[in-house]
Symmetry: C2
Subunit: 207 residues, 2 copies
DNA sequence: GTAATTTTGGACTAGTTCGTCCGCTTGTTG
DNA sequence: CAACAAGCGGACGAACTAGTCCAAAATTAC
């Protein structure tokens, strides 16, 4: 995640340069999450981040490299969130319930919603050479769930016959699909229903 | 669905005009599904549909109206598919299993995949006045599932305590999320896992 | 302290895209 | 057949955007 293509250095970066670069990426991520990739142009980004045009070029020679930087940023964000201690590596049904509740009970699912899903769906059809990079992030995410489910099996908390990968896919799909439906309906209900149904399904394997 | 904003007539359409308009919409839908809204520009569409620039303007005064036309087309496509006799109104678990199998066993989930999900995620953040229109389509889709599940309850096929809307949301979310993951991973597995897990969950309520 | 390097500013350009415009062709109506 | 409307073709223009370029300011290295 550190040494990605998006992290290509123009030459070398001083501390100040790294700070400016991070500042640009953060603002770009916010703008893209709010308005989409296409609507996030040079000018808006300059105004939002308070930088000049040459700075964008200096740290990101083209838009593709900027998007890669944003993907890295979003990937760190979502993976870091799921690795937080509060979820204890997803080794219990309660952890999954807490995870679902976080989005539903926070009352602001879209603000805290992972931006990498919507970003992915927006650029998945472009010819950007981002596919493998993106696939890796979702694999890591799935593995967090899978590892937790495997540990639950070892601990005898769920049936040994279930396929952890399959359930991990179910959880991420429920989240991504639920998020899309919630955005379309401007209502949290579809997300809540999808996430709680997924947790309920996990619960049917409890021992 | 018929008298939508996207169906605004320049003045009146003869049979020939309607044919040309439908031809443009069909090609636009294909191009957008394959390359996304942004990459589908005037020129590509002219070449693909074999029409002139003025024809695009004639039938669709601006790009937004064209996108609305494509949404209508995709909505008819997905709703028509789900109302097909083969699914018998989704009044049995087998119908849901057949529905899931269709995408998995056809071997070409992306070709037959509903284009309205990816289209929705791409334009959901734009300022286009499409939100309500899009929400209505997904409501109708959900209601197809909901009605089937309610009938299953009346027929005593599933437990009367389950919430049909909730399960309907689960199915659509599993499909949309699974599709996204499948496209990212270039692998049908996440879609298969999500859909089959959803059907399995429904099965836990069988009586 | 000075030379080299990095960071920054902002105007400018080349390319793209949506939509307009004018005129021609086809067909329909009275 | 005449007048009018709809369908059609393709060039053109206005607006927008990614990326370039020339310097200046700040920082670091020697």
């Amino acid at each position: 995640m550190e040494k990605s293509v998006g992290s290509q250095r123009p030459q070398r970066l001083t501390d100040r340069g790294q700070a400016t670069r991070a500042h640009i990426v953060k603002n770009a991520a916010d703008l893209i999450y709010a308005n989409g990739v296409h609507a996030t142009n040079n000018e808006f980004l300059r105004n939002a981040a308070g930088v000049s045009g040459s700075q964008l070029t200096h740290y990101f020679p083209n838009k593709e490299s900027l998007i890669l930087g944003v993907i890295d940023w979003q990937a760190d964000s979502v993976l870091g969130f799921h690795r937080d201690d509060r979820f204890a590596g997803f080794d219990s049904i309660d952890a999954f319930q807490d995870w679902a509740d976080f989005y539903i009970l926070s009352g602001r699912p879209f603000e805290d919603g992972c931006g990498i899903g919507s970003l992915a769906s927006e650029i998945i059809k472009t010819d950007l050479d981002i596919h493998d990079h993106l696939a890796l992030v979702f694999e890591q995410w799935r593995d967090i769930f899978r590892d937790g489910l495997e540990r639950m099996q070892q601990l005898g908390r769920i049936d040994a016959s279930v396929d952890p990968v399959r359930l991990a896919h179910m959880f991420i799909a429920a989240y991504q699909g639920g998020m899309l439906l919630a955005q379309i309906a401007r209502d949290i209900a579809p997300l809540r229903d999808a996430l709680y149904a997924a947790v309920d399904h996990l619960r049917t394997f409890a021992e």
